[in-house]
């Protein structure tokens, strides 16, 4: 369900219409523009992207390198500000929030999984998993915590430090960390980019499980058609615009679409 908004809207006007549209999206972008630099060096990474990410779904974002996938994700996650347009996480309009507001939003509503595992080497696996809750000063829900640990299969590794874990294990710790605070939405930027295919498959399967079993919302940027096939929906970006989308994709369908995009780009 793509929200297509035509023309240049004044932000005030869009806010009204955006708030009225309660689509049940976990996060939404409304006519988002992101322009880097100015003058000669101006690069428009996003050009009027409008997209809603459904709750309890697994969405993949694909596209050629430089198409704006990471930028879109950062804007949706409250890591980066948009040049124009609006971003909602849940029902909260995050455009215009200050650093403190965005930080708290990320802490309470958003989970992250990065390509490069990004665990704190000074903490054990368990402490890393509980870190977002500690930062927020919240007590973990024991039952949920146990469920997460069992799902990622790390019970016997909890006391280990990141350096004592394999890349796949570290990424599973990162997944558990993102899940344990039950965020509204989890963003993952190429989570399997640094893993071999088996570890990658484990992580992807685990992410899909958390969507199916626990109703978690996940948004994943990937270059890998096979990885994208784990998702419920694939959005294709090219030159900062959404150009296509697939539902219940298969790896072949994703590959075909990618090929089409490439030829389109070649023709253009």
């Amino acid at each position: 369900m793509t929200l297509t908004m035509g023309g240049a809207h004044r932000p005030g006007a869009t806010r009204q219409s955006g708030a009225a549209d309660t689509s049940g999206a976990a996060a939404r972008a409304v006519d988002v523009w992101k322009v880097y630099g100015s003058g000669e060096a101006e690069v428009a990474a996003l050009r009027g992207v409008s997209v809603g990410l459904e709750r309890g779904r697994y969405t993949a974002i694909m596209g050629p390198s430089g198409s704006g996938k990471s930028t879109l994700m950062h804007c949706l996650a409250g890591l980066d500000s948009v040049t124009r347009g609006e971003v909602y996480v849940g029902d909260t309009l995050i455009t215009g929030l200050g650093d403190r507001g965005l930080t708290d939003l990320r802490r309470d509503k958003v989970g992250f999984i990065f390509q490069q595992f990004n665990l704190l080497p000074t903490l054990t696996a368990e402490e890393n998993i509980l870190l977002p809750l500690s930062i927020a000063g919240r007590k973990p829900d024991r039952q949920w915590y146990d469920t997460v640990i069992d799902t990622v299969g790390l019970r016997d590794r909890l006391r280990h430090r990141p350096t004592q874990l394999s890349g796949g294990q570290q990424q599973r710790v990162a997944c558990a960390r993102a899940l344990v605070s039950r965020p509204d939405v989890i963003f993952a930027d190429e989570p399997t980019g640094n893993l071999d295919s088996r570890s990658g498959a484990e992580v992807l399967g685990f992410l899909r499980n958390s969507v199916r079993q626990f109703g978690q919302t996940i948004v994943m940027v990937t270059h890998d058609a096979n990885a994208a096939s784990y998702a419920d929906r694939v959005i294709f970006l090219a030159d900062g615009q959404i150009v296509d989308e697939l539902r219940e994709p298969t790896a072949e369908a994703v590959l075909d679409t990618m090929k089409n995009l490439d030829t389109m780009a070649a023709v253009a």
């Binding site: 930080t103 992250f112 990004n118």
Partner: protein
């Protein structure tokens, strides 16, 4: 890419700058010390050259007693017959007997000595009329015994006018004179070097300044032909013999200038001490910076090695960088050194009343020593990291970048061996088996132990830091900061070591001085039974005197039980200078100062008798009944008989003479200090008021209650302690730089981590707290270790001084608590910049940071 390179270069620049600052400080102090003493030297050289410009030759009698500390040598008198003998020597055109002695103190309108304590000398001279050097500005020279002329400098400070009455303290108590003239010096100067001069008529000058009429202390000689100056000087030497000193004006200028320079050399030593501390701490800082840079560039270095760079090239590149920092810091430091050196010289000269300060100049010694300090030490400190760099294996290029800590075994082993050695030396020293060498064993042990602790810091760091960190573990930010500080024990330790060294130094010195101070005050407190003490502040070569008439009136007070007036000075005994004292009422002194005889008697002393404390008696090999030859500043040598000995102690000690011998032989025949015992039931404050009124005409002396006086006795220690605290300030400043350095690096290294933490919701404030906790844990670790080491080693030295009467071990608790607080404060201050940097981090860039 370019941006990233530029950024990393910039961040490294900051770090290099920080470590360079330590070198800058050290160079500044070293060159400042040299420039200061050079500038002062040239100032005094020209000053005395001016002063003796019109002097051909002077003949003086050699002092009978060496200077040996108190107030310098007492000038010996020259009989007037000698003047004739000198005048008869071929080549001498004119010989004039003159009086020119230090110690004429003019009392100002406020009843105090003009110019206060310290400062330029105060001369009393005989008026010999105007000459090339001296000319009258107003009035005339003194002609009657009640008249004086003042130099213009003195007249200006005291605002004295011709016709006015002034009080003057000399060898005798205050006498009043009429000012009849004001004189200046050649070149329109008010004084030659800020000094005060009072000119009396000849007999008055002789009596008041030399203690006898018909004598001089200087014969001023004018030669017939200047070219024969040295010839005439040598002829004069042959004529007057070895008990006289014959010098040309140039000789005298040099002698006096050298003497003053020596007296002022303490300032140079203080600056050099600061330089030493700055350097000691600075070495750690440089070592740390370069180790960090090398560790950070491991991959880059490995790549270079893989591409075929030789080990020598690697060492060379690190050392080149060090030399660059060294040279730049040296130049900056030298510039600052010129500032504090000439500024300090100017201030000191002004303080002594000198207006013509020599111009700025950098002596060769300042160039050379500061270069060695700045560049040499920087390179030396970078040597170890340079070798580390050369040992990076090429395969490291393929590995994940990570600064895994090398094991601490080598360092620990070295530290352990040194600790054992130092501990052994300490134990041996303290066991008393080393006898006379005790203090050397202990000091050596302290030094070695100190180095051992520095080496063991990384090992100690782990447990201590983990315990300390628990203090802050109540918040996530605190917990994370605590973990971070335990992350690189080696780096934490080197950073903390700078702090440790500075705090250990001051704690050690403070412990020793507090112990000495409390030992002294305890002993004095036990020994001195006086209720009031009359004593004065020395403002010239002549000690402050209590007017005997005033003292007699104090004795006569109904509330006063007994008074023991004391005089003291230097004497020559067996060719050595020795401090001797005497009381005007020996029985009262024995009672008030608790002098108990060991053998013989100590409460009665007739002329020709003396008592001595046991240690001195033992050292000199005297027993009861021995005859001892003593030369006092005035008169011929005396034969004194030892009639008693008493136990030694720092409270009272040394040789006590009879009052008649002392008044005949000392420079002044009055008491310098007096102990007053009140009758039972007398009110101390009321009695003090009465005594105060009686002493109104003795401007240099004051009466103090026992408590006030005891406080004053330990004042000198307070001054030393203050200097030590300033030293700490300098060292702390450098320690701060070290911590900033380490933290900036840590923040840089952990950019990615910080980005992740910010991404998952750590607030800016929490990030800042995290960095601050890390900083505070490091600096607290350093200060606590420093306090422990300093107090321990200071206590060892105090124990070793037990024989010397330092029986009390008192730790400077207040200061120690202060140091911990200062340590925590330093941690917070050091964290400011790194914390802001960490908080300002752009989350997106941090995540993408490679």
């Amino acid at each position: 890419m370019l941006r990233a390179t530029f950024k990393s270069l910039l961040s490294r620049k900051l770090r290099l700058l920080l470590s360079g600052l330590a070198v800058v400080l050290a160079v500044m102090f070293v060159s400042g010390a040299f420039i200061l003493s050079d500038t002062l030297g040239r100032t005094f050289d020209s000053l005395f050259t001016n002063a003796y410009d019109y002097t051909d030759i002077q003949v003086q009698a050699k002092p009978k007693v060496d200077g040996g500390g108190d107030g310098g040598a007492v000038p010996a008198n020259i009989q007037s017959t000698v003047v004739g003998k000198v005048a008869a020597v071929p080549g001498v055109a004119k010989a004039t007997g003159t009086v020119a002695a230090e110690g004429a103190r003019v009392v100002g309108r406020n009843g105090k000595v003009v110019g206060g304590a310290g400062g330029a000398p105060r001369f009393g001279i005989n008026w010999t009329g105007e000459d090339q050097l001296i000319s009258l500005r107003e009035g005339r020279g003194p002609q009657a015994s009640g008249e004086v002329a003042l130099n213009a400098g003195l007249a200006k400070i005291g605002n004295f006018k011709v016709g006015e009455q002034v009080g003057v303290l000399t060898l005798e108590p205050k006498k009043t004179f009429t000012v009849v003239g004001i004189f200046g010096y050649a070149g329109g100067r008010d004084s030659i070097g800020g000094e005060q001069t009072v000119a009396f008529t000849e007999p008055v000058a002789q009596q008041l300044m030399l203690g006898a009429t018909g004598v001089y202390n200087v014969i001023d000689v004018k030669v017939a032909d200047k070219r024969d100056l040295t010839k005439v000087r040598d002829a004069l030497r042959a004529e007057v013999g070895p008990s006289y000193q014959v010098d040309t004006g140039a000789d005298l200028a040099k002698k006096q200038s050298d003497q003053i320079k020596k007296a002022l050399s303490f300032v140079t030593y203080i600056l050099l001490g600061f330089a030493a501390v700055a350097l000691l701490v600075g070495v750690f800082l440089i070592l740390n910076t370069f180790s960090i840079i090398v560790a950070q560039r491991t991959q880059e270095l490995a790549l270079l090695r893989a591409m075929g760079a030789s080990r020598r090239q690697m060492i060379g590149s690190v050392l080149l960088e060090a030399s660059l920092i060294g040279v730049v810091s040296w130049l900056v430091g030298l510039g600052l050194g010129v500032g504090i050196g000439s500024g300090g010289a100017f201030a000191l000269a002004k303080l002594t009343g000198i207006d013509d300060v020599a111009g700025v100049g950098v002596p060769p010694a300042a160039w050379i020593v500061s270069f060695v300090v700045g560049v040499g030490v920087t390179i030396l400190a970078a040597l170890l990291p340079a070798f580390q760099a050369s040992r990076v294996p090429p395969v490291a290029a393929m590995r994940q970048a990570g600064t895994a800590d090398r094991p601490l075994t080598k360092l620990t082993a070295a530290g352990g061996v040194l600790a054992a050695g130092g501990g052994g030396a300490l134990a041996f020293g303290l066991s008393g088996k080393a006898h006379d060498n005790t203090i050397w064993w202990v000091v050596g042990g302290v030094f070695v132990t100190f180095i051992a602790v520095a080496l063991l810091t990384p090992l100690l760091g782990r447990p201590v830091v983990s315990v300390l960190g628990r203090l802050f573990a109540w918040s996530v930010a605190g917990k994370l900061g605590r973990r971070n500080s335990a992350r690189n024990p080696r780096r934490t330790a080197i950073t903390a070591a700078a702090m440790m060294i500075s705090i250990a130094l001051v704690t050690g010195i403070s412990t020793i001085f507090t112990s000495v101070s409390s030992s002294v005050s305890k002993i004095v407190d036990q020994q001195v039974q006086a209720d009031l003490i009359i004593s004065g502040q020395q403002t010239s070569a002549i000690p402050p005197a209590i007017d005997p008439v005033a003292l007699a009136r104090v004795r006569a007070l109904s509330t006063v039980d007994a008074v023991a007036g004391q005089a003291y000075g230097a004497a020559m005994i067996g060719g050595k200078s020795q401090f001797v004292a005497a009381f005007d009422d020996q029985a009262a002194a024995a009672r008030i100062l608790k002098l108990k005889p060991k053998i013989g008697r100590v409460d009665r002393l007739g002329a020709g008798e003396m008592v001595v404390d046991e240690a001195t008696a033992k050292g000199r090999g005297w027993t009861i009944g021995d005859q001892v030859t003593i030369q006092l500043p005035r008169g011929e040598p005396r034969q004194l008989r030892v009639v008693g000995t008493y136990p030694s102690g720092p409270g009272a000690g040394g040789i006590l003479l009879s009052w008649p011998d002392a008044t005949a032989g000392f420079r002044t025949s009055t008491a310098v200090q007096a102990y007053v015992k009140l009758r039972p039931g007398a009110v101390t404050t009321a009695a003090k008021g009465e005594v105060d009124r009686i002493l109104a005409d003795s401007p240099e002396v004051n009466v103090a209650t026992r408590e006030e006086w005891l406080g004053n006795q330990t004042q000198i220690f307070d001054i030393v302690l203050t200097i030590v605290q300033v030293l700490l300030g300098v060292a702390m400043l450098i320690a701060v730089l070290g911590i900033v350095n380490t933290l900036v690096l840590s923040v840089l290294e952990r950019t990615r981590e910080l980005g992740m933490l910010r991404a998952i919701g750590l607030r800016r404030g929490q990030v800042m707290r995290m960095v601050t906790v890390e900083s505070v844990v490091i600096s607290l670790f350093g200060s606590l270790l420093g306090i422990a080491v300093g107090a321990g080693l200071g206590a060892a030295v105090v124990r070793a001084l037990k024989d010397k009467g330092i029986t009390e071990l008192s730790l400077p608790w207040g200061l120690m608590v202060g140091y911990v607080v200062a340590g925590a404060f330093v941690g917070v201050v050091a964290a400011i910049i790194p914390a802001i940097r960490a908080a300002r981090l752009d989350v997106l860039k941090a995540i993408a940071y490679e």
